[in-house]
């Protein structure tokens, strides 16, 4: 049974099949409450880690009682998943927009747009991005990730396809590689596995890298 995520019922008009939410945020107060919960969740997640991110702490941080939390989410997982979904959708939408923007432009240019948009989003709230990886690993998180990945891959694919100066036989494959390449180093940085050196030059190097890669698909 999949509970409606906040994302689904409050921020988008996705045609996803929506089960009855416990309570519809028809009133302003409700929306504010839900947002407070999200903020609190991310804060607690960041501060205390996934395991210590308990419903009580979230509620406390959000300035309400546990009981109220359960008025809006049927269980802890539903809340965490909602927060993750929100985050993922945010990134996805951004990347989609960037790809839209890069449509029809020469590959060198569109790559720069993509890289820039991707990194900007990921590193806007590094703590948040990092914290959310822990949720992502859990069962329901994977489902979301796969879904969002598909959307991003699709967007990149379109962009690659529309580039006037290259030709790729299997653009989906290349799009997947591109996404993986963007994600790898970004993740390493978020998990604090690298030197500041890398962080400083990441954007530049990724552009270099992807241009070098796609150069090889150049039309004669």
């Amino acid at each position: 049974m999949k509970y409606p995520s906040v994302f689904e019922f409050a921020f988008m008009n996705t045609p996803t099949t929506v089960l009855k939410p416990r309570k519809s945020p028809v009133q302003v107060r409700s929306t504010a409450t839900v947002e407070a919960l999200h903020t609190a969740t991310i804060q607690v997640l960041t501060r205390d880690g996934l395991m210590r991110c308990t419903t009580t702490r979230i509620a406390e941080r959000a300035g309400m009682s546990v009981g109220s939390l359960y008025q809006y989410y049927p269980n802890r997982d539903a809340l965490l998943t909602a927060v993750l979904e929100l985050h993922l959708n945010n990134i996805t939408a951004c990347v989609e927009k960037a790809c839209q923007e890069g449509m029809g432009k020469p590959i060198a240019e569109s790559i720069a747009i993509l890289v820039s948009a991707f990194l900007q989003k990921k590193f806007k709230n590094p703590e948040e991005s990092k914290a959310l990886y822990s949720i992502a690993a859990e069962h329901d998180g994977l489902r979301l990730i796969v879904m969002m990945r598909k959307r991003i891959v699709s967007a990149i694919e379109s962009m690659l396809h529309s580039a006037p100066d290259i030709h790729i036989d299997d653009p989906e494959l290349v799009a997947q590689i591109v996404l993986g390449v963007l994600d790898g180093p970004a993740r390493a940085i978020l998990e604090e596995l690298t030197t500041p050196q890398v962080e400083a030059n990441l954007s530049e190097q990724l552009i270099l890298l992807l241009r070098g890669y796609l150069q090889q698909y150049k039309k004669i």
Copy 2:
């Protein structure tokens, strides 16, 4: 407080002062027990996820009682860390060897060696590789990851430096990017976020990618 890792007491003869190893496997069955624990840990991790990877389940899966687990590891974390360390060390050693092998060879060739070694190791036990990512995020896991990353980066760096046909001003930076690039798509596949298509062509594409990247550092 650092507990002796399996690695330390089973594969090396480090004279490191070891903080009370719960028990060194002197008898034959002890060794078997420890190995059973490792296997079971990875299985449970894969099957149930980190959060549900409890000592009870591990022991049960390993066909022993919880007590036995605690004969060899002072706590859950120590076991998880030991398993991670074993795995990481295995990969690291392999990559180091590959880099050694690629020393002095033209970059196109050495890249192929590196990619091949890296992927081979990662995908030899996909389940294992995947499962261990979750531990890596944990406190003590990070320490290990950082340590191993350093070793790998260092090895790649040396290899890049020794390539006769390229010149890189900041080889460490590039090495870090290379590692990130290898890891990103590999991870996506392991976490089952991609299509079989990607898996089939990963090696080829990564070689293409890295060659394109490093091509740009070619000596005139």
Copy 3:
């Protein structure tokens, strides 16, 4: 790390910075719960001894779940310590009051007051007194005992000092001995090591004893 004792949050209005009291009994039932815990603790302690005085048993005896116990006390020790402190403070206050009362009176009279007050308190809830000896030996219990002892010794000392008919060079020493003398036989009785004979005559004998002792400090 000092946990807030029941004493502190229920009987005094200390402005002491309290390290996260698990919960202050704001609702009526909370107070009842805390009291039930104290009673149960003493009962289990008496019936089963310190080692078998487990949180489960206490909760069970108090007619609640373990979880509830932990709503009010962060761990077993905190509960035991709180109960001990409550008890000790009760006795101490009584003895202090008795000493106050004996101030300035001839020694024979003040001794009678002291002995009477001490025994009355100790034997009012013999079970309780007995049970608490076992906690007293524990780490945090010792601290409390020492503290309370100091207060009692100090009170006795003042009383001795104020007696018009004796003169003692080292009243603290004598006060300590007096306290020890009161405690020894009382303890023996509480631990059921003696005959009823002793219990019946204890008060009389102690008065006899202490008078004989202090007689020797008589002014000429």
Copy 4:
């Protein structure tokens, strides 16, 4: 079911009904082993406290395996009880001897002998004495304490009775009080509740105290 204590089968010829010991220490080695166990027990008890005084630690400290420990004692309690019994018997025997020695002497003199013997024994190994109090609180310990107390009371009673210069109607009562009085301050010191001042003057003050007490039973 009462298991034979070491004490019973190895050091005294008590007519106590003795159940078959697990193993009779007919060989020299056995006696040595048993002694090693006793020593180890007291050391661990002293060092780690009753709760941490595990069979494994005792065996380790005694330089043998747990299995061997169980060759000599059917369970942990039996060992602890045996050690306590040994200790108590030692003190008891000493006090009995002292009382024997004080027989027929004037009360002032015999009191000095008693006090001196009692304190000497108690403070010879303060750590040991203190540690053993924790065992004494447990079920089977009490039985022993009661038994030994009876013997001591009896001895003191005889001594009091034989004193040429006093007459006591109920010597058993007085003997109990005397013992309580000796034990109270001694215990306070052992539990480190007092000042060094008290420790230094204890003997003197106790003699003063008891003389003052018994003076009141002087024959005309």
